[in-house]
């Protein structure tokens, strides 16, 4: 029975799930809603996501929402089955640290990165608004502090917790948007450990393919 993913290829959270599916070597069907309005219809709210958001994943009859929950579910159920890629370590101490890095992503990395993404990528394209320079400035100051900390965390390591994990996947979509689309690559490239980490990440098959598919 197939996995079906509903989402938009340019949405950060959807990309998290697509990268995970690819890393685990899982086949899936991808359905893109016709427009944003579809997400607020009675049918979508009742049968897909009561919060009117994407991504939504169906695994047979089983439905799950919220990108990081979806990714975690896929890893728990399928990791090691189609290939050797392990996204959540079996060792409880290592897994604890992966969760810690996921928490850093959610609370410290994502918010300032999203300030850039919302203003420089989405504002004009989707919301018909001008970018707000004040928000961009704040985002930059915050992100610089975070990347300075990541520079130390990544010392002597290829990935955040040493080995590749879910935590690294989660950072990818918005990093790509700020680095490659909004073109602030110097923020990463001026920090050697961070630069190597991002290069390593974006050259992984699964990540590269997903980023290339952004329309």
């Amino acid at each position: 029975m197939t996995i079906k993913l509903i989402g938009f290829p340019y949405s950060g959270p959807t990309m998290r799930v697509i990268i995970t599916l690819r890393e685990l070597g899982l086949p899936y069907e991808f359905e893109t809603p016709a427009n944003f309005e579809v997400l607020k219809t009675e049918d979508f709210l009742a049968n897909k996501n009561p919060f009117g958001k994407i991504p939504v994943l169906f695994d047979g009859d089983f439905r799950i929402i919220e990108s990081r929950s979806i990714c975690r579910y896929l890893a728990s159920k399928y990791q090691g089955k189609n290939n050797n890629t392990i996204l959540i370590p079996n060792d409880v101490h290592k897994a604890g640290l992966v969760d810690q890095f996921v928490s850093f992503e959610i609370f410290y990395y994502d918010p300032p990165a999203f300030k850039f993404v919302s203003q420089e990528v989405f504002a004009e394209k989707f919301w018909n608004k001008n970018p707000d320079p004040e928000i961009i400035k704040q985002g930059r100051e915050e992100l610089i502090k975070v990347l300075d900390i990541y520079e130390k965390l990544l010392e002597g390591k290829e990935y955040l917790n040493g080995e590749f994990s879910l935590a690294d996947i989660y950072h990818s979509p918005y990093t790509h948007y700020v680095y490659g689309v909004a073109k602030h690559s110097e923020l990463w490239d001026s920090r050697p450990n961070v630069k190597n980490w991002w290069n390593r990440l974006r050259n992984r098959e699964a990540v590269k393919k997903t980023l290339e598919e952004i329309p």
Partner: protein, 211 residues
């Protein structure tokens, strides 16, 4: 060697961890932070939390930070020694618990934190309360709780059985009830109200908030 928890005793993030320690009956020492400077030192940043925050848990030599990561770690390691199940073994049930944990992060905590910041922390810092932020945040939280009202219909807890997802919601809800005038946002919704009451009646809740 006992588990050591470093944090601000009254903060919701520290209490999130204390709730899990109490639910699972794990003994621990609380090292209370009294001055914010202690968590901004070179040593703390290098050895405990690179972002200079608490709570931080030390389990022998193993150090974990970030409250939800700490909670998950404690459950993974110690749940098998306890009668209380906070995280199901079944992969499908576990993923739904994760889903509800994500609702807490994405739709519940952000507006709720803004209300708490304006009504409690801003005042402590001598900043004026921004009523517009409070109003907008309460509206956002209302929309979320309308959805929770439907989710909780016919259920005692978010995923049927009590789990980590319910527990994560407790600390900020507790502050709304005990220190603000906004508890009607929960109490005006019957299923949500019963859910909160059930949470408040758990032994671990009573133990955590008696301290």
């Amino acid at each position: 060697m006992a588990i050591k928890l470093i944090g601000f005793a009254q903060s919701p993030t520290t209490r999130r961890v204390v709730l899990v320690l109490n639910e699972l009956g794990i003994p621990y020492e609380l090292e209370s932070v009294t001055e914010i400077q202690t968590i901004k030192t070179e040593e703390f940043i290098t050895k405990k939390h690179p972002f200079g925050k608490v709570p931080v848990l030390c389990d022998g030599d193993h150090v974990v930070n970030e409250s939800r990561a700490i909670c998950r770690y404690l459950v993974s390691k110690y749940q098998k020694d306890s009668k209380t199940v906070l995280y199901p073994d079944d992969v499908h049930k576990a993923s739904l618990v994760e889903q509800y944990i994500s609702y807490e992060l994405s739709y519940y905590d952000p507006p709720l934190s803004k209300v708490l910041y304006q009504e409690i922390y801003a005042k402590r810092r001598g900043e004026p309360t921004d009523e517009a932020v409070v109003k907008q945040s309460l509206e956002e939280l209302s929309k979320t709780l309308d959805i929770y009202e439907k989710i909780l219909k016919g259920k005692e807890y978010l995923n049927g059985e009590y789990s980590l997802a319910d527990l994560f919601h407790i600390p900020c809800a507790h502050i709304i009830y005990s220190a603000t005038s906004h508890k009607d946002i929960f109490d005006s919704r019957p299923h949500v109200k019963q859910w909160i009451e059930r949470l408040q009646n758990r032994d671990a809740y009573k133990k955590t908030y008696a301290e």
